[in-house]
């Protein structure tokens, strides 16, 4: 599916309000009758310092000029740019700034909704999409830390072993469905005509509580996280 | 991963120890972590539990642990070792450090 098709699925005719420049989408559109601000990556692009600034500028514009308008984050990015100059100029700080802008928006009453539309991998997902109130993924999206081949290359654990283990450990599997089992996305959406309605409902339902650990426990994909968090909270309260 | 348990006779630890537990070392290449916990039920015995990723050196481990049990009063403790390829000299050093920490005055 082309980017234009995808945007049309979500935003209909209002998708014309979204500009794509350097594979970064920014602008305003409507989901049903609801005005939304859109930031995102397309075509699996790598996120660098400039891309982060492009998105943060859009968030700031929204906070300044469109009080309370929900911010929809679309994610189709292979990762952060592995580049020495980017690192030298402080890539993590650019990402931290983007996240801080989103926090300012959240505190100003903007809802934050993410849809992983394509690749949503590693740092590229952490640096904005995973910060949302509610996170969703298309069934065709490839979501996760990294494919098992890449994992194998770094950990030196053979691919066959990782693949075998991933049958019982969704954390090691790569894709939207296993990511949902971990609580990392709330729901996986089929790419069809109902996307706009689903997004609209998701915006309406969004609240800022982070429920991912509870969800991961409930769905069985991340059995320890919630309990450990709760134990720490209980012990620290003594 | 090879795992084994073994108990040795040892003189009783000076009682009571000043802490409920003590940890020495880290799990890292050529190193290990040692957790020592009092076990008053068996004051003249020390029980070891070892996990190591390098199989085939059980005899070597047990000889080192036996020597440590004989040289130091560690009866009435259980000691758990998570190894990542530590040589015996480091094993004995961490055991000593953990024991010192368990019995030293609270800082």
């Amino acid at each position: 599916m082309t980017t234009a098709d995808l945007l049309a699925h979500f935003f209909g005719a209002s998708a014309t309000g979204i500009t794509i420049s350097n594979k970064i989408a920014t602008g305003y559109a409507k989901v049903g009758d609801q005005d939304v601000c859109v930031i995102g990556t397309v075509d699996g692009t790598y996120i660098d310092n400039a891309a982060a600034l492009q998105m943060s500028e859009q968030v700031l514009d929204c906070v300044r000029s469109k009080p309370g308008v929900p911010i929809v984050m679309l994610v189709d990015s292979e990762g952060q740019e592995p580049n020495r100059t980017a690192e030298m100029l402080g890539l993590p700080v650019y990402f931290g700034h983007l996240l801080t802008c989103l926090q300012v928006a959240r505190e100003a009453g903007h809802k934050l909704i993410t849809v992983a539309t394509g690749k949503a991998i590693g740092g590229a997902f952490i640096c904005y999409g995973m910060f949302a109130d509610s996170i969703y993924a298309l069934d065709s999206a490839t979501v996760g830390l990294m494919p098992v081949e890449a994992m194998s290359a770094v950990t030196k654990i053979p691919v066959a072993i990782l693949e075998e283990l991933s049958k019982t450990l969704p954390a090691l599997e790569f894709g939207a469905a296993p990511f949902a089992l971990l609580g990392g996305v709330k729901a996986v959406w089929p790419t069809d005509e109902t996307l706009a309605d689903k997004l609209s409902a998701a915006i309406a339902a969004a609240t800022p509580e982070d429920t991912r650990a509870a969800l991961g426990k409930e769905r069985g994909g991340r059995p320890q996280a919630y309990d450990v968090q709760q134990r720490v909270l209980a012990e620290s309260a003594r | 991963m090879e795992a084994f348990q073994q108990s040795f006779p040892s003189h009783a630890l000076a009682w009571p120890p000043s802490r409920k537990w003590a940890l020495a070392g880290v799990v890292g290449s050529g190193n290990l972590e040692v957790l020592i916990e009092p076990n008053p039920a068996a004051p003249d015995t020390v029980s070891y539990s070892v996990e190591t990723p390098i199989p085939g050196y059980r005899d070597s481990w047990l000889a080192a642990l036996s020597d440590f049990s004989a040289h130091y009063a560690v009866g009435g403790t259980t000691i758990t070792l998570h190894d990542q390829g530590a040589p015996p000299v480091v094993v004995k050093l961490r055991l000593r450090q953990a024991l010192d920490l368990l019995t030293s005055a609270q800082s």
Partner: protein, 292 residues
Amino acid sequence: MSLTPYHELKARERIAVIADAGSFREILPPPERVMSTYLPKLGIPVSFDDGLAIGHATIGGKPVYLAAQVGQFVGGSVGEVHSAKLVGLLKSAARDKIPCVFLIESGGVRLHEGSSGEIGIAEAIRAVFSCRAAGATTLAVIGSDIGAYGGMGILSSCCDFRLMTEHGRLGISGPIVIEKWMGKQAFDSANRALVWKTSGGKTRYVLGDADLLVNDSADSVRAGIISFLSKSAKPDLAMVEARQASLEARLEKFGQISDPDEIWKTCGITDIAAASLAEAEDFAKSFHPQNS
């Protein structure tokens, strides 16, 4: 009091020299054996604390929550348990409105635990901002050779403040990954001088990414931490707008430079060799960082 080089210390030794003597009360201490369930399945040794010691302490008499990562254990990496301990601690800090200090030494997400650590870091980042919203100071202390990379580099950049030594490195992609991606000509990961000039404490301080640069001694780090405990940087629109402008200016000014020495020179450092050798605090005094 200790002049021991901070970067040489292990996590628990750091806690011992940073916290007021005897004040540290560990949460989920080693005997609780809250450990990774993934690593044994991969034949990798586990650790009693999963590479993270957390607890309550006082530093300079002020109550804090304190976390220290064990860089030796799977590179200080963040898996399911490790991240859950971080999140629990941060939520405790937000609830109790007391500062949270991280002694960071981590390459980022623990690959062996796949996406669970990734989601865990994302949760921890949300929790960092809960602290900031509550006015509970979050401070990243980066003074180890492993530094703060990957998701931990991003998390550090979300904290109110970053304190670094020249041994510390702050980044996302490590040099080996970049070398693989760009080629050895563009970035030789064995060229440690370039690696440190790219991501090390001095360059991060020059560019304003580290709020404070201190000497590599436990005492200096402790004193530095104390200096932040009564401050916070609660995010608001004015702050992020100013930051947006400064980050844009940085990209404009330095975007075409590839040699980090050029950045130092542009920032007014004339004798690069002497500045490279200088003690961190002397270095920091010698010029005004490019800041936001």
